[in-house]
């Protein structure tokens, strides 16, 4: 049996790119707010649906660029709304971690069924950003996938630059490091919480719109990437954005390799087993600090 290494790598990197976009958003919210957003997957789904409604002929037909822009913008608004309704009212509670798991779970349940009401059960597919296939380095790959592979590092780089060099970005990092001190030096903590949430939701919406060109859009399409993003975030280590990104690529490649050899179902079982082992033996993740 010949092993198709390039195919494994390409599909792994495509998956990794989407996981990276999902997981960085999740990690950003975790670092800043200290909560896990179980509604993160539904942002992805809604991003895909909205991009479809705006761009598809059966919807408004405003073109793909409009679809992407409006999807991301709506999700930023959705992130703000989610923060305001499901997180902010509970922030002074001692058991906030558990409460927010429950509220975001309920919120995601709400939105998933709203999606079912609006878009129905029929499968939808988005146009691809670029049609056709290309053959860089002798590997045949669809142009759309290539766009995903190339644009993800750029987007994450932009996020990194924002967090590293802008005033607002430093303020977000300051909150992540020490919330009380950040408050003391006059940082508007609630506003930056909202901003982190909005950024994270926008990234998820973009990931959804990109995934909508490869997979069918269904009301629960975000749940699997969300679970993978959990794995990535834990693998890379909570509290480390760099670790999250490396984690995404490692997990994406493990997944594609494993899918190639043992099939999709066992792969998922393997992923969760890895996840549990990491949580047992190194709960701070491979790159996390104690």
């Amino acid at each position: 049996m010949t092993v198709d290494v390039p195919a494994i790598i390409v599909s792994g990197v495509v998956l990794a790119s989407l996981y990276a976009m999902m997981a960085t958003g999740l990690a950003l919210v975790w670092n800043t707010l200290g909560i896990f957003n179980f509604a993160h997957g539904i942002f992805m789904t809604l991003g895909a649906y909205i991009a479809w409604t705006i761009s598809d002929e059966a919807g408004l037909g405003w073109g793909l660029a409009g679809g992407f822009a409006i999807a991301v913008a709506t999700m930023i608004g959705g992130g703000l709304a989610t923060y305001g309704l499901l997180v902010k009212p509970f922030q002074n509670r001692k058991d906030i971690v558990l409460v927010v798991v429950m509220t975001t779970l309920a919120g995601s349940f709400f939105l998933e069924n709203t999606g079912r009401l609006i878009w129905g059960p029929r499968l939808k597919q988005l146009q691809r950003v670029v049609e056709g296939t290309v053959q860089p380095l002798g590997v045949s790959i669809s142009a759309h996938e290539l766009v995903i592979i190339i644009s993800t590092p750029l987007i994450l780089l932009a996020l990194y630059a924002f967090l590293r060099w802008t005033r607002t970005g430093s303020a977000i990092r300051a909150i992540a490091q020490n919330q009380d001190s950040a408050l003391l030096i006059g940082i508007n903590v609630p506003r930056l919480y909202a901003l982190s949430f909005a950024l994270s939701a926008g990234l998820a919406g973009l990931a959804g719109a990109l995934l909508g060109g490869i997979r069918f859009i269904v009301p629960n399409m975000g749940s699997e990437p969300l679970l993978k993003a959990f794995i990535v975030v834990i693998f890379g280590g909570l509290g480390s954005l760099g670790g999250t990104i490396v984690g995404a690529y490692v997990i994406g490649l493990i997944e594609s390799t494993s899918t190639y050899f043992v099939g999709i179902y066992w792969t998922n079982a393997v992923m969760f087993a890895i996840f549990i082992f990491i949580l047992i033996f190194r709960p701070t993740g491979l790159f996390g600090r104690n």
Partner: protein
Amino acid sequence: MKTLVRPPVIARALVLIALLAVPLVVEDQYIRHTLVVAMLYAIVAANWDVTLGFAGIFNFGHLAFFALGAYSAGMLTKKFGFPTWTGIPFAALVATIASLIVCLPVLRLKGIYVVLVTYAFSQLCYQVILNQTEYTGGTFGLVLVPPLEVFGYSFRSAGNIPYYYLALALLVVSTVYLHFVIRSNLGRSIIALRDNEAYAISRGVALARQRFLTFGASAIFTGAAGGLYAQYLRTASPDMFGFAFVTFTLAMLLLGGIGTMWGPIIGAFVFTFISEAMIDLKEWRWLIIGTLIVVVLRFFPAGLLSLVEQIGERLGRRLQPAAPVPAPERPGSG
């Protein structure tokens, strides 16, 4: 801190008598069916409350014990041809073993990590079950599970009335059992661990051992309920691992009040009937349930039941202005 919301003995006795009488009085199969489902949910929710409410462990894998119970009972009797009465005890056994396995990583972890590891465990079970199509029916679920039969007497006879009484018996036994668990040393120590972990440990409570026992204790009747569920509905479906089931049960717990003995049981009954009444609303039903969870968490963290209690206390005080009993504030637990 008051942790046991207890309806008066008379109320409990009356409800039990009413439940015993339902099959004799009500001919309607649908109401009977809804009650059976409600009783099974009540068992699951009340047992989940042991880890989530009383012990304050963020256990999101509890529904997996229920699902594993359903699958193990179904597979044992359908695929391996064991007599059907072995299904429920086997389900309880499998669920308990599973709970002890998932507890191992939980012993060392805290907070969100516990949510993740318990949820990952439930997803792992789900994926393995999808994989083993030959034994579990894969994505279609395990269908045509043999109905319960004891000494040639089928529990499906007389319009499922035997199932009704079995579910009621299981609920009563489970409730009595939980009553003793919560009042035992184990129960008191896990509440102590929840409320002040450092202090409880310093007073000699063994955190790891108590957590281990808590998980095992909460899984026995959950698994048994799963087994009965499979034999009653004659199916076990992979949906039982999904978010919808978790959200549904969570709503019952929150509605009734987390960390209370009777809250989840009352919550399960109220919620099952509310949800059945809303069945014509289709997807809107889920939107209402989602909203309800958030509203209860936001405004009634001790559960809606506590609201009834507070009103009762206020009325009581108004009637007896001489008794200066301040209403004890019950903080939301978790």
